[in-house]
Structures are given as structure tokens and as C-alpha cells.
Symmetry: C2
């Protein structure tokens, strides 16, 4: 068994978080693709509580929940730090990661709704992203300052997946006029080589989310 | 202004978490009681995103969200560690803290329901607590082993608040026959002096939750 193994799903933004963090740290790992609609014994054994990807297996021990995996990666491989040095700045990064996880379903509700309900969902998503832009990002290049960190990784889905969600849902939420700094952040993030080189195929994602929307299977976490 | 200030609410289990962690670390702080039904400017200014207690203000800088405050306390005051040394064990503590936060509303649903709905809620709460007992706690004295840690603090509400919830709701979920190890853990936790000496008044809590249930104001987070 490889020293580091990742059970993931190609369309899961939570898997992407872990892939990016491992690559930013320069860690070799074996990737195992899981099908969320037909779970393997390996996944069920290694994440018996949630039965979901991603799961990181390091030296035979499984860690589940992407935000906990990110902290684990940061603690286990301290090179190329992804959390700031100061306790206050670290608390801020964690605060926004939690905000993102709690609000993700609301931000993505445009995918599961239509008509007046979708209009409300669009408005609500805009308001949340405005809070994120003004109070979380501010005028910084990345959430933690000049370098990419865990909060950027956690919000990375906004940079590629959310555009696909908007296209499938037929709405525009994250436009450059209303959310200019978040827009600039997306450009900054996509210039980071590890991010640019490790994004899921847009066309494939588009087809996947179209099918999810059509079959009403789009779940709250936006993807699987 | 005091070096460390805590904005809290006497009936909030999230405030209790912070009080216990500060006291276990031996940190002096000024406590400011907030009324969640009549929020002060101080609270609104220091937690503009969620507008909720607890907020820890340290050297003038505010930190919100109790689980982030716990991590901040652990990083800022390393004495009497509340997270294990090993990255894997730390990940496990964080995993269960997240599990508790995500499932708290479901575990507490008995307070907001009645009849058949409450029967379902009781069953669901039992199943979640069984997972917590078997996979989280196991045969250990505390979640992290022999000493109290952040996961114990995070689940501390089960040790005093949940019994009040059961009484108000007229159900029994956490009984010693079905959940013997979780029951033993409650006894262990209540023997820790800082916990024993810093529990909200049971009668006052009972009255508070009765009123919440009667006026249908019991919110998902069980308390305020």
C-alpha cells in the first residue's frame, strides 16, 4: 500500500481541496477514484461515519472530512506553510473556511431551484459572497495575504465549479461588477500552477451537473 | 479593556466551551453577559458576520465561532494541552468536534418536536449518539484518552444540557443501558473540577428551555 493514498471523486470540490494541498506540499500519493453512487468496501471501511470522499490514508490510518484533512496535511508536512504563523491569522483562516462550509449549500441553491425561488437563491448567494469579499478577502491577493493558503484552497470551488453551476442554472451571481475583488482573487488563484494544472475538465463537469439538475439529484453540497 | 474578554450568554453551550477552555488553561478574563434577544453594539461590532456569542476578544482582536476560539486558545496558551501531540490524534479530535456540530441540531430535535415526529427524532438522536459512543469514544475515559481535551469540551453540553432537554421534551435518549460508555464519560467529565464548578444552574436552564419549547422558539442549536 502506498504511504499516502487519497480516495476521491473527480467532480468533488472536497477532493480537489486535498489534491491541491498535497501537491502544494510536494507530497507523492496514490489517487483512487471512487464512485459516490456505487461505494467500494475500501471507502466504507475507511469512512464508516460519513461514507464519503475524500479520505486520506496515511501510513494505513484514514482521515475523513476535507477541512480536517487540510489541517492534518499542514501539521504533518510543514513545508510550504498553508496557514499563517500568527494564532489570530490562523483563527481567521479557519473562521472563513467554516463560513464557507456552512454557507456552501445556500450559495449553491441556484442549482436546485428555478423561477421565483431561484431569484431568491441568487440574491442570497450574492449577499453571502459580498460578506466573503468585504469581510473575508478585503483588498488582499489571497485570503491570508500574498500567498495561497488553506482558506483559498477551501474556497477554490468558487473559481471553477461555481461558473459551471451558474451556466447550468442559467444565472449570474459572481459577476465582476458586483464582486470585483472576489473576481480578481479567482484570477490570482487560477494563476497558481498547482491549481491551474489540477482542475477538473470543464465540459465533463458541465455534463455532470446538467444531468444532476435534470434528474433533481443535485445535492446540497453542489456536486455529488 | 481587559487583555482577554469573553462575550457570552449564560445558557449557551458554545459559551461554556470557551469558559471551560480558558479556565483549564488558567487564563484570567473578563466575562460580559450578552442577551441574544437584545444584542449590544459591542457584539455586533465584534462578530458582524454571525452576530452571535461567544466572541473572544484578545488584545483588542475579536475571534468568533466557538470551535475556532478553542483552537485559538490552544495555540495561544500551550500550557495544559487540550489537543493530543500526534497529528492523527488531533485530526480525530477535530473530526468528532465537526461531527458534533453538524449533528447537534438533529440530536436536539426532540426539543422541537412531539408525537410521531418526536419518536423519529428520539430514534435518530440515539443512533447518532451510538456512533459517537462506539466510533468516537470507544473504551477511553475521555475522547483523547486519559485527559480532558477539546472534543470533551465540545461535547460537554451532552453532560448537563441534554438531560434538561430530555426532561423538557419528556423523552429519554441518553440512558445508561443503551449508551453505557457515553454515560460513564459524562460522569468522568463532571468530576473534572473546572467543569463541575462551571455549569449553568440546572433549574434556571430548565425554566429557560421550557419557555423556549412553549413559545416554539427553540432554535436548532438547542439553546438560544
Amino acid at each position: 500500500m502506498a504511504e499516502v493514498k487519497l480516495l476521491g471523486f473527480w467532480a468533488s470540490p472536497f477532493s480537489d481541496r486535498v489534491i491541491w494541498a498535497l501537491k502544494l506540499k510536494g507530497i507523492n500519493y496514490e489517487y483512487v477514484e471512487e464512485d459516490p453512487y456505487n461505494k467500494t468496501q475500501l471507502l466504507l471501511q475507511h469512512n464508516p461515519v460519513h461514507k464519503k470522499v475524500p479520505v486520506l490514508i496515511h501510513a494505513g490510518k484514514p482521515i475523513a472530512e476535507s477541512s480536517m484533512i487540510l489541517e492534518y496535511i499542514e501539521e504533518t508536512w510543514p513545508q510550504n506553510p498553508l496557514l499563517p504563523q500568527g494564532a489570530y491569522e490562523r483563527a481567521m483562516a479557519r473562521f472563513w473556511i467554516k463560513f464557507g462550509e456552512e454557507k456552501m449549500a445556500t450559495i449553491c441553491a441556484v442549482l436546485r431551484t428555478s423561477g421565483a425561488e431561484q431569484e431568491r437563491a441568487t440574491k442570497e448567494a450574492m449577499e453571502l459572497l459580498k460578506i466573503l469579499e468585504e469581510q473575508g478577502l478585503g483588498d488582499k491577493k489571497f485570503f491570508g495575504g500574498d500567498a495561497i493558503g488553506l482558506a483559498d484552497i477551501a474556497f477554490g470551488w468558487l473559481a471553477y465549479l461555481f461558473g459551471v453551476i451558474e451556466e447550468v442554472a442559467g444565472v449570474k451571481v459572481l459577476d465582476a461588477n458586483r464582486l470585483p475583488r472576489l473576481h480578481a482573487w479567482i484570477d490570482n488563484l487560477k494563476e497558481v500552477p498547482v491549481i491551474k494544472e489540477n482542475l477538473p475538465d470543464r465540459q465533463k463537469l458541465l455534463g455532470h451537473l446538467k444531468r444532476r439538475r435534470e434528474t433533481h439529484l443535485a445535492l446540497p453540497n453542489c456536486n455529488n
